[in-house]
Amino acid sequence: MSHLLEVKNLKTYFKLNDQTVKAVDDVSYHVNEGEIVAIVGESGSGKSVTQYSGIKLIPQSAEIVSGEVIFEGSDLLKYKENSEEMRKVRGGKIGVIFQEPMTSLNPVLTVGEQIMESVMLHKQFSRKRAKERAVELLNMVGIPDAQERVNHFPYQFSGGMRQRIMIAMAMSCDPKLLIADEATTALDVTTQAQLLELLKDIVKRTNTSIILVTHNLGIVARYADRIYVMYAGRIVESGENKDIFIKPKHPYTIGLLNSVPRLDDPKDRKLIPIEGLPPDLANKPKTCSFLDRCPFKMEACEYSPAPQLVEVDKGHYVSCYADIKGNDWNLKFEEEFASASEQVIMKKEWKSKENNGVILEVQNLKTYFPFTKGIFNRKIADIKAVDDVSFKVYKGETLGLVGESGCGKTTVARSIIRMYEPTDGKIIFNGTDIAKMSKRNLKNIRKNMSLVFQDPSSSLDPRQKVFNIIGEPLIINKLVDSKKELHERVEELMRLVGLDPNLKDRVPHEFSGGQRQRIGIARALASNPSFIVCDEAISALDVSIQAQIINLLEELQEKLGLTYLFIAHDLSVVRHIADRVAVMYLGKIVEIGDWKSLYDNPKHPYTKALLDAVPIPDPLIEEQREHKVLKGEVPSLLSRPKGCVFSNRCPIATDECREMDPPLSVEENGHGVACIKV
């Protein structure tokens, strides 16, 4: 059987300075009709460039050196970049859904116009018919009132809706193949689940094939038929979904699976990060590119050329020299890995820390932002970003704060450290209320609490040396007496977070993303705080690096007795690291409890929906799970529903819910739910 798309020995190189960056280095794969194929890899692995090479949507500095991209029998690489044939393929036979829904639609055209454009071009439809088609497409992707909405502009849609429109555009000319390039990465879990279910549905109905380009292993396990794993511009392993997840053979694939926290993990599993960094693609070694990070490397690997893909099982290809035909490979891996890295696989047994005493108590915290209009900045409403939130944090524990974007979790964090001024309520830190404390008195408190930011590249001053960045809190708070002491302390901090103190004279952009986050953590630790707020501290990092940072945070907590307020949208990560978890929705805490009772026995319908939406990187489990999709979207803070804030999306809501705002009722074990139905 011939494949719908077959890529053979594709090589795409970038020319930068005098260096050649081998972004795609001899990649071959195929896609059959009606199939969902996933290309998995971390940033910089070449997964997107591979896709865009075929339809010639690559930057000018890139050059397709060799290879064939055979689509429906003809080689796409033979077509000129802007030729008639290529344009017929792009948008006509191959549709693309880009990552960023906010920037991939033209803001000055109505969404209808944008869909009609390609229909009229590729199908020679009249304007009238094109419009009908646009409405039909919007209906198909689940946009309510499509007849009306077709005349709206992109800014009138939410992020999830825009991504639906992107799908409608990509589907407008009945393509044979859809390329979804990290299409759901920027979206919240519930929206992500909605969209992926939609895509799956489309595949079933229209026999379209989809290439899912992603780094999220959970999504892959849930939706993909076949998987290609890419690393440093090459495919290192490929096979059926179950082959990859149940019998992974390549050390990188195994490492990747071991480094991701899962929703069904035992609590005491320690994440096993892949140590080191991916190779510099400009100076890629001739040997296996995973060599430096591979815990299994043999002598032969050091001098042999990069391994080729070999079929180890029917349809399961791996490029590795190690003897990987044996079935006990996985077990052997874990054992050897554990001894090789001298790490214990298990964390200490989890214990509740409620007896340690309270370090922070937030009472009825409200943070409102004025919503102004007109030239006189007249205040017309309050944006209630945080509305009456109360919780306690015990000494030495990690409180996870989860919720979708816009739920107010970051505002809570920033109010606690007084980056935002709280409107009302109490923030009792170590016995003192700091909610209304003056800036001057606050200085003494701030030594004891600090913040780790989300984006390590924007939170470090690009023009300061690492030494100055880490040393700054020490100087400001006069915590060191002499230059010598300052140097010693900075070096100590760098060692503590796993950075070589010899690098203290470098500037942030000389470091990789994970290392930058380590610098940020070192800065947060500088003034010896007892309480640290981690605001999405790991969500900007690649999965293999995430594990390194999570482990670092856990080790630091144990060593220094730190208390964390861990803010994240990734529920699996929070489950792994947190002792207790609070779930927020529209500025309110809807459920709070220790991790076990919250994850094992979620009570609030929103928590249940969130947990349902998180995919687990294990196809066997995914097969058994019921994929319930939460309808609708998070409403704007200005049009908060009456009564219970979740009532307009809640599957079990009744009229009663729309009238009464449910209070957080707490059971004896500390598990609290704000819902009148439980």
């Binding site: 980056m419 600090s450 001053d461 708070n477 952009h509 990789s512 060593k559």
Partner: protein
């Protein structure tokens, strides 16, 4: 706790920022030529007494309006003064006016912009409305009236041009500061209790300064041109002091007979202004870390 002691060695290759900056800056030939022209200009201006073949002020009416010859390479003007020597001395006026007026505008303008952008609120409104008012007056009219009020001369020209240029710096700096202020690294400092002064000096200013440097370089050319214009209009330096603009003006009457009298200083103006513009453009590319990374 073995793992925390383990150190990551794979840090990207080291290449100093300055080396990269120089490499990008000197990537194009035209920039190298422009820099050489400017370097030559500075050398000439500083060592004018030693370089100039004649005293630029010595008049010799008997020898006036001579075409170029062996003794006077560019000929003599209507008062018999050596044109080459006057051009060499004139470079001083151009440089003094250029640098002082830009320095004046740059320092005052960016300070105002910094204060307005950093503290915001009512202070911001007051400063910026004042700047808007200044901006509303056409710069050449402003310079003319200020020059006339201050009675011409070098100081008058410098102040006039300086004041006229202030609003651009204030606007640019304010925008930069407002963007940088929102960055997480500024917030990180604020959380650890940094003082405003330290925050401004250590974090805000260094991250806002590159566009100001670029603008200053571009403005040097503009200021030199404006000085020439004012001198041409008779509001520049006082005679008998030499300035390129006034020399163009003086030679203007003899354009048909001795075009060199006007063209030679005019060509100097063109060259120097162009050189400053090219260097300014190159600086903009070289100072941007993002563009720098791509080269």
């Amino acid at each position: 706790m073995e793992a925390t002691q383990k150190v990551e060695i794979n840090v990207p290759r080291r290449k100093s920022e300055f080396q990269k900056f120089i490499k990008v800056l000197l990537a194009r030939k035209v920039v190298v030529i422009s820099l050489s022209i400017l370097f030559l200009l500075v050398v000439v201006a500083i060592f004018a007494p030693w370089i100039a073949p004649y005293n630029p002020y010595t008049q010799n009416i008997a020898n006036s309006l001579q075409p170029p010859s062996k003794e006077h390479i560019l000929g003599t003007d209507q008062l018999g003064r050596d044109v080459l020597s006057r051009i060499i001395y004139g470079s001083r006026a151009s440089l003094i006016v250029g640098f002082s007026s830009v320095a004046l505008a740059g320092v005052i303008g960016s300070t105002l912009g910094l204060v307005a952008g950093y503290f915001g609120g009512i202070l911001d409104s007051i400063i910026m409305r004042f700047m808007d008012a200044l901006l509303a007056i056409p710069p050449i009219v402003l310079a003319l009236s200020l020059g006339a009020a201050l009675g011409g001369g070098l100081v008058g020209v410098v102040v006039a041009l300086g004041v006229a240029l202030i609003p651009t710096y204030a606007r640019l700096m304010r925008g930069q500061v407002m963007a940088v202020r929102e960055m997480d690294y500024i917030k990180a400092g604020e959380i650890s209790g940094i003082s405003n002064l330290r925050n401004i000096l250590v974090h805000v200013m260094p991250n806002c300064i590159s566009p100001i440097i670029v603008l200053a370089t571009l403005n040097l050319g503009i200021a030199i041109l404006a000085e020439a214009g004012l001198s041409f209009l008779g509001l520049g330096v006082n005679p008998p002091q030499a300035a390129w603009g006034s020399m163009v003006n003086d030679g203007y009457q003899y354009l048909s007979r001795l075009p060199g009298l006007s063209f030679a200083p005019g060509l100097c103006i063109v060259l120097v202004v162009m050189a400053f513009n090219i260097v300014g453009d190159a600086l903009r590319d070289a100072l941007d870390p993002k563009l720098r990374g791509s080269l």
